[in-house]
């Protein structure tokens, strides 16, 4: 379970920290968890349970947080410079350039915040990464869980037996 989660988490963290790649919103972390579930379920003989999918997603989210944090430090300066150059070039070809993009670039400076605020930011980022990873893991089970049509998951059978 660790290796698929690492692969999914590294992919999600790397893509989330890449300059301008965050224009796809929360897609990367969900896709990272998807990848982890896919890699894990590929060699499984039995259907993957929802709980396992969730755990894979959570682990991917944690790995993604660490990768994003360490990559965002060197990428931050590159990110701003590259985004600025990209938007300037884009402005020559299209009028669809986002309004006030210079202010948007200024907002993404972590250096001018104190340690407590950076810590606060990282804790909440971890929550979001883990949450989105968990969503991706659950969706991954729905996609790759290899459940037969009309059958219910292992978890729902256990729950139904408990209720009886």
């Amino acid at each position: 379970m660790i290796i698929p989660a690492l692969v999914g988490g590294v992919a999600a963290g790397f893509l989330s920290s890449l300059p301008l790649a965050n224009c796809f919103c929360c897609l990367w972390i969900i896709l990272g968890a998807f990848l982890a579930v896919f890699l894990y379920s590929r060699d499984l003989a039995k259907p993957l349970s929802l709980a396992d999918g969730l755990l894979l997603g959570i682990l991917s989210g944690l790995v993604a947080t660490i990768i994003d944090f360490f990559l965002s430090i060197p990428f931050q300066a590159i990110n701003a410079a590259l985004a600025s150059r990209f938007l300037e070039t884009l402005a020559q070809f299209t009028e669809e350039i986002p309004f006030n993009w210079d202010r948007w670039l200024e907002r993404s400076e972590m250096a001018r915040l104190g340690f407590p605020l950076i810590f606060f930011t990282l804790i909440l980022r971890t929550f979001i990464f883990v949450g989105l990873g968990a969503v991706g893991g659950a969706l991954g089970v729905a996609f790759f869980g290899r459940r037969k049509r009309g059958s219910v998951s292992v978890d729902s059978k256990v729950e139904e037996e408990k209720e009886k």
Binding site: L50, V135, V152, E159
Partner: protein
């Protein structure tokens, strides 16, 4: 009168995620409100969401001419997620630990995929409200995959099945 047919652990988990979701929505709205009084805190809130959203000012809802911490589509997703969590016990009273068919997710993703493609190809430019609605359609469905996995995970080691 039984309103929710959820196990005790499931109910507590459901309540926890409801509050976490509300907390993040409040945080998104607080970013522009804090801008004048506590600019550092406001910047920290904007930074929390940087890896998950492009935060382009033109594509965000604004409060007193300042953008929210995420774009209108991401805000739609998180508000939709809240709606999904809130309505989950009503729709999933009988089988709380069973995910819907994956076709529902694919169907809900179609409007977003078409809208993204149309905007990227400059076929049309959607308004913020349209992006919000499309995002919320997608967001509403996510808890129906996420919460069963959470309940399965939470109930794995407990025998509490008291109904609420």
């Amino acid at each position: 009168m039984k309103i929710f047919k959820l196990a005790k652990t499931s109910f507590l988990l459901w309540l926890t995620f409801l509050f976490i979701n509300i907390f993040f929505i409040i945080l998104i709205i607080l970013a522009p409100i804090f801008q004048k009084r506590w600019p550092s805190l406001s910047s920290a809130i904007y930074l929390i969401f940087t890896p998950f959203c492009h935060q382009i000012e033109d594509r965000c809802f604004s409060f007193k001419n300042l953008p929210l911490a995420v774009c209108s589509r991401c805000f739609g997703i998180i508000v939709g997620f809240l709606l999904g969590i809130t309505t989950y016990p009503i729709f999933k009273r009988q089988k709380p630990i069973k995910t819907p068919n994956i076709g529902w997710f694919v169907g809900a993703s179609m409007p977003m995929a078409i809208d993204l493609l149309g905007n990227i190809c400059h076929l049309w430019s959607s308004s913020n409200w349209l992006r919000f609605i499309i995002g919320s359609i997608w967001g509403i469905l996510l808890p129906f995959y996420f919460l069963p996995a959470v309940f399965a995970f939470g109930n794995k080691n407990t025998n509490q099945i008291n109904s609420f």
